[in-house]
Structure formats: structure tokens, C-alpha cells
Subunit: 323 residues, 4 copies
């Protein structure tokens, strides 16, 4: 067995998937899972599909592990990550707390930061963009689910200087909204409708702009759709100059094991419970726009399988081990 790992916040959807992947990982040893209100229960009682027989512990700061995946809400993660780092535990943090490199931008969107001193040491955990830095990092800020899809969809255009302005219309399954029961996630509220939310103010916006770089301005509108797992971003780009983007994408992703550029619009079925991101490119001849679709499983490549991909990189394992 290799390094020991804990998953903090394993009763949520993302934490449970991370725990399930690590439990059956050929190298890492899933040593602890923690939760708040579900502490004391077995993880496979709360999430039977995980098939993880460990008891959810109450986290009190003293876990002796080599690495941790922190699946806490934004704001709540930072102090725990700081405490883990002080004790030398290497961390993949699923929250937004260390994703933004600019403190002022963080404060604009999220409020005060509980551990600003750590921001500089965190690496944005999108392997397709930052593979080498991740391999050397002790703290990886795992990307949000929408940013994962959106950045992979647009990075080749951005790098080529073709991206000035983009509309991203995103559609997400309900698991992306978390496990906490609310009126908005009640089956009857979601079934047979499509619901835009946080219009013009979703917190994944600055993260997308940071990674696309330069002065790219993003209009990002997420919609809740009546399905459980999966995410599609539909990106509308007016390119800075005329271009055939197909070659760009082929080059960008030819050697990427988890990004598949396909011809037709990509469907969620083919990425469900995988680490794949599927992308397709389309020209709108009449308007000159480029339309890019990207789909992922929001809990896998969008969160937890990407976290394992990052852990693999951080510990010198094969990137796809256990995925």
C-alpha cells in the first residue's frame, strides 16, 4: 500500500465519490473519512453506491495521514487546509478558497479569506494546463466543475489570442448543487423545467477568466436541468480574427488522455462516471461565431476524479491510476 489519504467532508456528493475512488485505488490507502451530521454512520450506509465500509468520523484536527482531500464549503475549507498544511499533510482542496490567485478578486466574490498567506503556494488543479506545477505542489486547488468544462473548451482559443469575449451558457445536473435538501432541489421543483440561476453573478466566473487569461470577459449563465449527473457548457465566441479552430484543438489535446475532441455535439452519457471531457467545435457561418461544446461528469472530471488525477500527479503516480 502507498500513502494514506483522508477525505474530509465525505458525506457530501463530491466527498463520497472521492472516497469511493480512493478506496479502490491500487496505490493510495483511504485511511479516514469524516463528516459532520453523518458522523458515526458508515459511508456505505449514507452513500450505498460508494461501497466504502468505513465509519464517518468527526474531524477534530488530529488525523495522521500523508494527504487529504478536503470537501468543505467555500470559506470553511481555508482554516482546515491551513491546519493540515502546518502538519505537513499534502492537500487537494475541492473548495474555491485557493483557486483565485488574486486576493482582491477573491474578496469581491466570496468575502474575507481565512488563510490568505497560503494563496501563493496553491496550484490550480487543472492538469491539462498546469501538470508540472501540480506535480511539485503541496496544495492543489481543485477547479470548479463549470470552470473545468469551460476552460478546457476555450483554452486553445485563448492561448492563440483569439478570445476576446465569450458567452458561456451552462447546463448542469442537480448533483452540482450539493446534497443539502432545499426547495430548489426538491424533485418536483426540478422535474420538467430548466432553471437559470445566479444570472450574472455565479462565483465560477472569475475562476474562468483567470485561467483564460489576458483580458477575456466572460458572460456565464448556469442552468439547472432535470438530470442528476453531468454538465454541458455551450460557448459562443466571436473570434478576434478569422480562423479554422480545428487544428488548434487537435494540437492542444492530441496527447491529453482525458480530453476527446469529437465531431458531433458531445453527450453526457459518454462521460458519465469517467474522467473524460468531450469537446466539439462548430462554426456558425452566417455570423462568423465559433461554438464550442464541452461535457463532463460534474462529480468526476468536474470534481473528484480530477482530485484523484491531481493526487496521482502530486505523488508521482501514473496520472490515470485508479480512474
Amino acid at each position: 500500500m502507498g500513502e494514506t489519504v483522508a477525505v474530509l467532508g465525505a458525506a457530501g456528493y463530491a466527498g463520497a465519490v472521492a472516497a469511493a475512488l480512493l478506496h479502490r485505488h491500487p496505490h493510495f490507502e483511504l485511511a479516514h473519512v469524516t463528516a459532520r451530521s453523518d458522523a458515526g454512520a458508515r459511508l456505505d450506509a449514507v452513500h450505498p453506491r460508494s461501497r466504502v465500509p468505513l465509519v464517518l468520523e468527526h474531524y477534530d484536527g488530529g488525523l495522521d495521514v500523508d494527504a487529504a482531500v478536503v470537501a468543505y464549503p467555500h470559506g470553511a475549507a481555508a482554516p482546515v487546509v491551513a491546519e493540515l498544511r502546518e502538519r505537513g499533510v499534502r492537500v487537494v482542496d475541492l473548495s474555491a478558497d485557493f483557486r483565485l490567485r488574486d486576493l482582491a478578486t477573491y474578496e469581491d466574490w466570496y468575502g474575507e479569506h481565512a488563510a490568505p498567506g497560503l494563496i501563493g503556494s496553491a496550484v490550480y488543479g487543472l492538469p491539462e494546463l498546469h501538470r508540472r506545477a501540480i506535480a511539485r505542489a503541496d496544495l492543489v486547488a481543485n477547479p470548479g466543475c463549470y470552470p473545468t468544462a469551460a476552460i478546457l473548451a476555450l483554452a486553445p482559443l485563448a492561448r492563440a489570442g483569439l478570445l476576446a469575449d465569450v458567452v458561456i451558457d451552462a447546463k448542469s445536473g442537480v448533483s452540482g448543487a450539493g446534497r443539502e435538501p432545499t426547495h430548489g432541489k426538491h424533485f418536483v421543483s426540478v422535474d420538467e423545467t430548466v432553471m437559470p440561476y445566479k444570472v450574472g453573478r455565479h462565483r465560477h466566473t472569475p475562476e474562468i477568466e483567470q485561467e483564460l487569461g489576458g483580458n477575456v470577459r466572460v458572460t456565464f449563465t448556469p442552468h439547472l436541468v432535470p438530470l442528476s449527473y453531468g454538465e454541458l457548457v455551450s460557448c459562443y465566441v466571436t473570434p478576434a480574427r478569422e480562423v479554422d479552430p480545428a487544428e488548434l484543438y487537435r494540437e492542444a489535446y492530441a496527447d491529453e488522455p482525458w480530453v476527446e475532441v469529437v465531431e458531433g455535439p458531445p453527450g453526457m452519457h459518454e462521460v458519465r462516471e469517467t474522467n473524460f471531457c468531450r469537446i466539439s467545435l462548430h462554426g456558425d457561418e452566417r455570423t462568423g461565431r465559433i461554438i464550442v461544446f464541452a461535457t463532463i461528469d460534474n462529480l468526476w472530471k468536474g470534481t473528484s476524479s480530477q482530485a484523484v488525477q491531481n493526487l496521482n500527479l502530486m505523488f508521482g503516480r501514473d496520472e490515470g491510476e485508479g480512474l
Copy 2:
């Protein structure tokens, strides 16, 4: 009882809803329903929810009625409409055959036209834009479902000269794709995914551009979502100049009985099986974009209740009778 009406093509989704509405209409008398492969069956056997006990007839050209709703596929409608008009029957045509005023544009998108001589006499059946002309018309071209939502969403901006360019990302329930069984409409294909289709080449595009007028260029991308009835268009506008659109929409729709401008994003539940279109306006402060959502029931305001609304106008009835 008032005028007699036939619904041609009543075995399809749109025809069945039109027949159901006319069957219980307080004024019109639903005299005939026709179908091809289902001829001989009762309509309430094919579509139990319609509760229309009439037998589907094979149409052979000889129906003696005052008016007809023609629910035929594009191309197949034109010759039948021509034949009905020759005999003096007033027609609401649900197909695209008479929606485009420009023959060349029609031919670009649909191919040859079977009755080009009638194009000039058809009125585009969106009452909110053409109420008076509809009231005098003998042939009304009922709008497509996407155009109904998109035009209502954007017309106030277009009329004010603020609309130069727009991205319309549309989401539709599966009934919008028709009743014919195909792999793409199989439950397993649609469930748990969102599928863009006809990217950059959906035939509703020229219809939207025609009605928004001027030189507006539209990027229109429909997506199939896993639900049966309902449609949402998400419209992204970079306005030609800075503007507070709220006042524009209030004025435009203050006296419109079927258009409701609401604050939050509109949901499909509140328009299902109604003739309402619900619209909301949102500013994206960071980019200056205006985002407009509009939702309708694709088979009601998007097709068949709008057809009845048009029939009411054509025969001098109260516009909302029977709706």
C-alpha cells in the same frame, strides 16, 4: 355553435392539442379531424388526454368547413393550404411554409416552394406583433415554437434599435421534435443528457431574423432537454447603446394578456398548458450584456393555443376565448 373547423394532421402532438382546444371551445365547432397512418382510429384512442371522441378521417380534399388548422410537415402543407384557400376555407397553417415573406430565403432554408403565389397573402401569426393584420387575414402562418419565445423575448429591444447581434441558446422538451419515433427521441437517448442539435443551421433562424427586422444577426442553438413540454430561450444581447430595458418591456407588454414580465427567471411549470409567455430581464454588469429569458409551452403558445388565439382574431372573437 359558430363556425366549423377542421384540424388536418390531428394525430401529431400539435394537431391533437389544437383539436382538444377546439373541441371544448365555446364558439367554434370541431367538425373534422384527419390523419394519415392513424386514420380510422378515434382521436381519444391515439391521444387519450385530448378527450376528443371524433374519428380520424383520411383527408381527400373535400371537407366542408369554414376554417382549418393545418398541422402538416413543412413542404407538405403548402399544396393543401392552397387547395383549402381555393375553396374559401380560412387557414391557420402550423408549418413553416408561409412564415417567410422572402421566397429566396425560404428556398435557401427549405428548398422549392409548392405554392409561392400565396406567400404574399399570409400574415405571420404572432398576435403581439401583428394583431390587426391577423384579424383581416384569410391565411395565417403560425409561428414556430422557438421563434415565438425568441421574438417575444427580443422584440422590445429590436424595435428600440438596440439589437444588433444576439446569441439565443434554446432548450426544448422532446415534444417539440414531433411524435415520429426515432433513435434520438427514444427515452434512453434523451434521459440524463442535454443534446445540442442542428448547430448553426436550425430553420427557425431566418424566421426570428425576419421578425426582429433590420439587419439583426442571430446565432441560434437549440438543445434537447429531458422533459416533455416546455421551452426556454436564453438570449444574450450586447446592446447598441447603454440602456435600462425594464421600461421598454413594461411598455411593450403592459396591455398584452399573454405576456408576463416577471422578476426572477421564469419556469416552465407556470406556463405549461397555457397560452402564456413569461419573460425576465437581467443585466450582466461586468460585461454590459443584457440577458433575456422567455419560456412557453411549445405545444400551446408555441403552436396550438396560439393557433386558436389566431382563429379567434380572424373570426372576430375575443382573443382568449377557449384558452
Copy 3:
């Protein structure tokens, strides 16, 4: 305008449908709607589809109305119903508090009763069985949704003395479980699964047995299915003697406006948002069993349109007015 009616507990699913039906009722005047946590909001803000513009009031006991529909949880309804009855208000109670005629049975299944003195005056509000008594009643105990479907499915066999023992396997949409958010009603919990619940101990069981009468023993197992509105009961009967039940059902329901005996298995689409119950009969030749299916909309015939049907009867109106 006719009598004034209040709906108490109008923020729940059942109360909102009752309010919507009474708001557009040609005779009754919906005078008040009440709620607890949503008090102060307009009903059409909480339930846009209701289109009821009234403000939800906090109920404090002093409403001056002719009748009330009480949509409170079991146990909470009885004291409020008692208070309303003392002031002479005629009541349709949607809870289970007055459905069981035997106090001991009530206490077995629900615990202590808050107003046992009223039990004797309540009439079980299934018009197809108790129409005349309802017309004379001041307190009607509106049936549960499952009992409505199950009793209508089985009453003709029970009356004919053919029913000794029955298995009822029921499937219900999620609205039947109420509006309160819980893990079990989270979209992700319900989607893509079928979940039996309260196996062998659902509280609708004694109600079904009471109305089927005699010594009928019922095994009743409800299942939650991934849809919002609608209910199907599949009833398996080993008849006491050989019988062709078709004639029994024809006679029983020939003059019932809201019960439709159909040939094929009935679907939820054809009863959705209606007061209809659809029933079909099937023989299993190999085993001699009779299989009866019945479907209703759990919030309409299963609850709120049936409440309006009862109100119509209680006030001498046509039974189907406003439905």
C-alpha cells in the same frame, strides 16, 4: 358570488391546488389563504402556476368565511377543524384526522386524537361511495390519495362479496410526499430509481380496509417513482368465486362522471390535472387472479379537486362545477 371559502395551509402542494381551483371557481369566492412559514408572501410567488394573487395570511383563528379547506398535517388539523366547526364554518379536511370512524384504529395508526368528539359527525368524502351523506355534511374528511385510487379500483368487487384478500402495489409521484425538502425528495435521490417505502405500515391501509368493508385484509405497498404528479395502483385479487368482473364495473360506474373504465392499462397523462380516475380490469388466466389498475392525479382527484367536488356537493352546486 357565492359562499366565501378559506384555504388553510395553502403553501403546501395540496393547499395551493385547492386555492387555485377555488380562485377560478364560478361560484365560490376564495376569500383567504393562510400559511405558516410563507405567511406574508403572495401565493402566486410561492406557487406561480396557481396564479392566485392573494397574500398568505397567518391564521389566528378569526377568519369569517362560510367554508374552509384545511390542508394541515395529520394531528395538526383536528384542533383547527374543531375551532372552525364551533364557529359554524363548514369544513373539508384534507388530513387523516377524521377519516377513520373507529377511534381505536385511529389511535393505533396515528396516536392520540385531538378532537375525538367530532369523528361521529364526519363523512368520508369519496362522492362515488357517499354522495348523499356528503351533501348533508358539515365536516367532510377528504380521502387520502392512495385510498381514492384503491377504493375506486376495488369497491365493485368488495360490494359483490368477491374480495377477501388483496395486494395493492402502488406507485406515486413525488408531490404525494409533500413540499417539505428532505434527503428522500432531493432530485438526485429520486431520479433513476423506484423506492418502496413504509412497507407493511403505511397509514392509508386502515382507511382502505374501512371503505372496502367486511373483513377485507389489504397488503399495501407504496413506491416512489421518478415523476411529479400521478399515482397508479396495481391491485391483485384472488376472487372468492369465479366471476367476470367487467359487468360489475360497468354497472358500478356507468353514471359516475369522473370514473372511466377503459380497456388498456390507464396512463397518468390522461388524468393529469383532472378529477378523473381511470380504471382497467385484466384477468390472469393461469392463476385465476383479477388485476385492477387505477390511476389518478394525486393532487387533483387524489386530494384537491376532490375537495372541491365535495364542497360543490355540500353547498348544493353541480358536482363538477369549476373542475
Copy 4:
């Protein structure tokens, strides 16, 4: 690499899953996939989730393989299986053609048999009942999806002589009805309803009775529910004598790797895309009935992963290899 395998009929749902499992199997080599109307396409174009890059061939009888999985419709399978067996190819047949040991029963339910001479050599491929015989078989008749769940749910009671008569109310996702587009599988037909079908005459009935043995009489009623993958059987048993079945099931399945006896009703999520069958037992104290639920993924344990389990047994591999 080990033995070569072909999947005949790989464009259907069951065939595609079998091909996907064999393609990534550590021992077997998936050498050929065949199809009729999709011949010439790559399997991963028809079923992207399979990720099988092989081209679908037209089958003309000459494949040189060690084993074949035949995923043909009932009736069409028998002659092909006969031809394969003549050439020494070992076969797992997914059709019903060789499941019934009694020719007369087969003919009653399916009509004439194309290869009656082979019936005697076929083994019913439910490893939990016939593991040893499967290991020696050259022709395995893979069970139907409903029989897999129903037999596993009831076998311990049947073996103990407690089962005289049973009602099985089954609920299945739409993939169980196959990939061919029909009106009944159109998304709009299935969404928001539950539909009983083939009441009293589903062809899986004799198969269940055969395996439960003795003179057990089964009333079996399948229902289509609005989901894609998964199956639940709800079994209602009046036991021949009083009994605590918990011990029976513990003994029966203690050493079975793929059968999990759980406490609460089992959900489809926890068996999806697995070879597991989950079972729970409940007593209905009031009536003395035993209620047994069993759930499987209809395309995995219900069909194709069970086929691989059988292939593993036939070729002396570990039963769970590649699952």
C-alpha cells in the same frame, strides 16, 4: 490474451454492454462485433459510452472464435446458435430460445422452435443456482432480466418449500424494452407515467416458474417506469407455513459474491452498472405476507455482465473477472 470472443448483435443495448465488458476484460479478447443495420459503423460511434473502437461487421456465419455472445431477438437466435455450436464455438445466448427446458412450454409462449435438438444441452445461466453445470456447459441460456431478479428474490423460499403462490409486481427502466424506436419508447410516452404492459402474458413468466420449481404459480406484471437502467421486483408471498425468512436468505447468499441481502428496500443507484443483485425482506404482520424486493441493473446482472460471469465460469476463470 486468452480466448477470442465475438458479440453478435452488438448494436443493441445488451450487445453493446457485453462488447464493452469483453473489450476491457483482462483475459478474453473481443475479436468481432456484428450488427445488421449498423454494420460498417464503429461500435463507439453507435454507442459512444462503450468506447469499443471495433467496426460492426455483417455476420455471415464464418467467424473464427472460441466463444460467442449472441444478442439476437427470440426466434432469430436459435439457428445462429445451432450453426455456432456445429463449428464448436461455445455460446452464451441472451435470447429466450434455450431457457425453457420443456419444448411444449416454449411453443406455448413463443411458437415453433428452430433448433429443438439443442435444448437438452443448454444450461440456464444463473450462476447462483447452476454454477457447476455452467462451468461444464458449451451452451448457456442467459436468463431474462426479470427472471434474474425474481428468481434470486424467491429461490430461498422456494427451496424451503414455502412458496406456493406469488405476485410479482415488476418495474423496469426503458432500456429493458430494447433500442428499436417505437411510440411506446418515445420520451414523451414514458416520461411522467408508469405503464403496466403484457398483463398476464409476459413471456418471462414460464422461465420464473421453471426455476422456482415444483408447482409454483406466478402472477407476473411488468411496469415501464420513467428511467433508463434498472429493475425492481416487488414480490408478495403468502408462505405455506409461518417462518422467519431472514435466516434462509442469510444461508442462501452468505457466500454469493454478487447477491447482497440488505435491510432497507434496495435502490437502483447502488446496483447500476454493476453485477450486483440487492435483496431485502419485509414482513407484513397484519396479513402474514412476506414481501421481498430485489433490484438489479437490467443490462448488467440482468443481461450482459451476467453473460460475462457465465463466460468466466465456462472457461475456468475467476467468476468476477472483468466485472
